[in-house]
């Protein structure tokens, strides 16, 4: 099948049974790849009510038809599972080089099922596929283990692995790769830890069949040419995602002290140019990337080397914790990466605990003696370790802010910043209604990458609640995640502004199937509805209450900064949901209607 590795690999960790089957043609036609494959398999193969950490849950790792080919940023890999953090759908996208090796090994998806009786790692070397003992690696950090595995097998072998956070079943553990790339959100690393799978080592040497080689080269060259000629290529490459740090601070979107404000009085110390000058050594890109956004940094103060921090980590482990030292943020980033926990959820959990401490809900007997005030760098480092190792206060914070705040009570639920149990990424949304709706309705919880609508708020009026805003959010939700379906990176479109229509002839040349963006958005909409069904199937009583944002954004206006005194009214929150459900063709309780499911050809998925 053109554009595909050609097989689905199944690994039963319990029995050691490993086998491949051809990738179903209909699956490729209907769901294309990546996130689409993951959503399909999750719904079909994980039984209703499965324990996310039990043997019935599975982890689906999928490439897409662009993966491993000479298309800008074609190194994206999707990890899908039932989330141990939220109990719903989890899908995390990881850059790097892993997915290219999957394709070169002839694999489109790796399906991990069952639970091993002892720590193991999975070696995939073309047709040699076996589970090996990982006892020597269990308990070690990701940086050291990846280095050991690279030295053992060779630089061309790619590694995806978990750290102690995943081994200890922290529900927001991530999967690491290439010493600094992560499948970060929703606890995909936790599921790997539950299966006692420390790492996957992969290498392949096969070619990928392409429908029209000449047209593929022409279309690929056109994409690279557009990237190379983009106006701001040098600036994006120089600063990566940290381009937006100063802008977020200016417009009140930079999370500050547990999202109590959107501007940080010491934010200047965290801006992209400051970071570049103080700690960045070089740029680091993923497979086939012409605009490497990764920044490899060194902190002299802490003696650490790390890929990052990128914007999300600066927001959540910097301003959100009242920390203005970029070297401290870089070191916190390294700790989280090495221990294998998501820096976004971790920064949120520590921010919530700091607010509890400053409000007197926690005292030193709750914090293991730590003076857990905002801005305490050493306490932050300690808490990252305690969360990953589930020690002291880390046991509570490792549950995520939704569950932790329910246990603690005393009003702390009001400043637990999450949607559906997933902690919010680094955009404060006190007065940005499109972005707030994007977080409320995101398919994994409060994550930004499906629909990044905050500039649209600024363009049309940030407090406006109008159907056009809702339509924009929905369009982005249908369109942007398609990059995760195709196995490519959206940042060339996002950052460099290249024409997305340039991907159409490339995809056709590779797969032999002509699909316009209208066609692709229909697939995106279908997947969106399917994942919504999964939430409803797995959570009895699932309704619009699940889509509500943190009360902070409709009850607690910032006392300083660009959004001082600004807030979204609760009635507007509900109006946004009403409009959203109507435009989606869902019931007023947020469930896809039978008519909509029929229209989406999803009736076979009804329970």
């Amino acid at each position: 099948m053109n554009g595909y590795g050609g097989s689905i690999l199944r690994v039963d960790l319990a029995t050691g049974n490993i086998y491949k089957k051809p990738t179903p043609v209909k699956l490729a036609q209907d769901f294309i790849g990546g996130r689409g494959f993951g959503a399909y398999y999750l719904f079909k193969e994980v039984p209703q009510g499965a324990d996310p950490l039990g043997p019935e849950n599975k982890l689906f790792i999928s490439s897409g038809p662009l993966s491993g080919l000479m298309i800008p940023g074609a190194g994206k890999c999707d990890f899908t599972t039932k989330s141990p953090l939220t109990g719903g759908y989890a899908s995390a996208s990881m850059g790097g080089h892993f997915t290219a090796e999957m394709k070169y090994a002839g694999i489109d998806s790796i399906i991990l099922e069952g639970i091993s009786s002892k720590p193991v790692y999975l070696l995939i070397d073309n047709e040699t596929i076996e589970l090996r003992d990982a006892s020597n690696y269990w308990g070690k950090g990701t940086i050291a283990v990846e280095k050991e595995l690279k030295e053992k097998f060779g630089e061309e072998y790619q590694v995806a692995l978990i750290g102690p956070g995943g081994e200890n079943l922290v529900p927001y553990a991530c999967i690491n790769h290439d010493f600094g790339r992560q499948a970060g959100r929703g606890g995909v690393g936790t599921v790997m830890g539950a299966k006692k799978l420390k790492a996957i080592v992969i290498h392949g040497t096969r070619s990928i069949p392409v429908a029209d080689v000449k047209a593929y080269r022409t279309a690929g060259r056109a994409l690279y040419k557009a990237c190379k000629e983009a106006d701001f290529l040098s600036e994006w490459t120089r600063y990566g995602t940290t381009v937006v740090t100063s802008w977020c601070d200016e417009v009140g979107a930079l999370p500050t002290r547990n999202f109590s404000a959107g501007s940080y009085e010491d934010g200047k110390n965290l801006y992209g140019p400051v970071m570049r000058e103080k700690i960045v050594i070089t740029d680091k890109g993923c497979f086939g990337c012409p605009s490497p956004c990764g920044k490899y940094s060194r902190s002299k103060k802490y003696g650490s080397y790390v890929e990052g921090p990128e914007y999300e980590t600066i927001g959540l482990m910097g301003s959100n914790l009242g920390i203005s030292d970029i070297e401290a943020v870089a070191h916190a980033n390294l700790l989280a990466d090495d221990l294998g926990i998501d820096s976004i959820s971790t920064g949120n959990a520590i921010g919530w605990a700091m607010e509890c401490y400053e409000k007197g809900i926690f005292n030193k007997s709750d914090t293991d003696g730590l003076d857990l005030k905002f801005g305490n760098i050493e306490a932050t480092f300690e808490m990252i370790s305690k969360i990953a190792r589930k020690e002291g206060l880390g046991v509570l914070l490792a549950e995520g802010v939704k569950k932790a705040s329910k246990k603690v009570g005393k009003g702390s639920e009001k400043f637990a910043i999450h949607v559906k149990g997933m902690e919010q990424s680094a955009y404060a949304t006190h007065n940005a209604t499109a972005m707030l709706l994007a977080y409320m309705t995101c398919d994994v919880g409060a994550h930004h990458n499906r629909s990044w609508a905050i500039t649209y708020d600024l363009q049309v009026g940030r407090d406006l609640v109008v159907p056009e805003k809702v339509a924009r959010v929905i369009w982005l939700q249908n369109f942007r995640p398609m990059f995760d379906v195709l196995g490519g990176c959206r940042l060339q479109w996002v950052e460099l502004g290249i024409d997305r229509d340039l991907y159409v002839p490339a995809l056709e040349a590779i797969t032999g199937i002509h699909r316009t963006w209208d066609d692709l958005e229909k697939v995106g909409e279908r997947i969106w509805n399917l994942t919504r069904l999964f939430w409803a199937r797995e959570n009895p009583g699932f309704d619009r209450q699940w889509d509500l944002p943190a009360p902070r954004f409709y009850e607690d206006a910032p006392r300083s900064g660009a959004t001082k005194g600004q807030i979204t009214k609760f009635e507007d929150v509900n109006t946004l949901l009403d409009m959203y459900y109507e435009q989606r063709g869902w019931t007023n309780n947020g469930l896809p209607s039978p008519e909509k499911l029929k229209l989406m050809n999803l009736t076979e998925f009804l329970v």
């Binding site: 701001f232 995602t241 802008w247």
Partner: protein
């Protein structure tokens, strides 16, 4: 006494689809953006001769001012 504003592609809709527009020098970038009906808060980065400048930078004669908006997002 003129200079050039060169916006990122997503902002060209504000200048009739052109790649760049000639403006008067002597005003700040912020004032000039307002004149062009581009909201200054949309702009994430101002670059002149490879250097990042604040929005209050006064545009000098002959400057080529690149302005970047993050429309697509992170």
């Amino acid at each position: 006494m003129t200079a050039i504003i060169r916006p990122t592609s997503a902002l060209r809709v504000y200048i009739d689809g052109k790649d760049e527009v000639i403006v008067e020098s002597g005003k700040t970038v912020r004032e000039t953006l307002v004149t062009l009906k581009i909201k200054p808060e949309l702009i994430a980065l101002v670059v002149v001769a490879g250097e990042i400048k604040p929005k209050d930078y006064i545009i000098q004669e002959g400057d080529i001012v690149k302005v970047l908006a993050v429309i697509g997002g992170g």
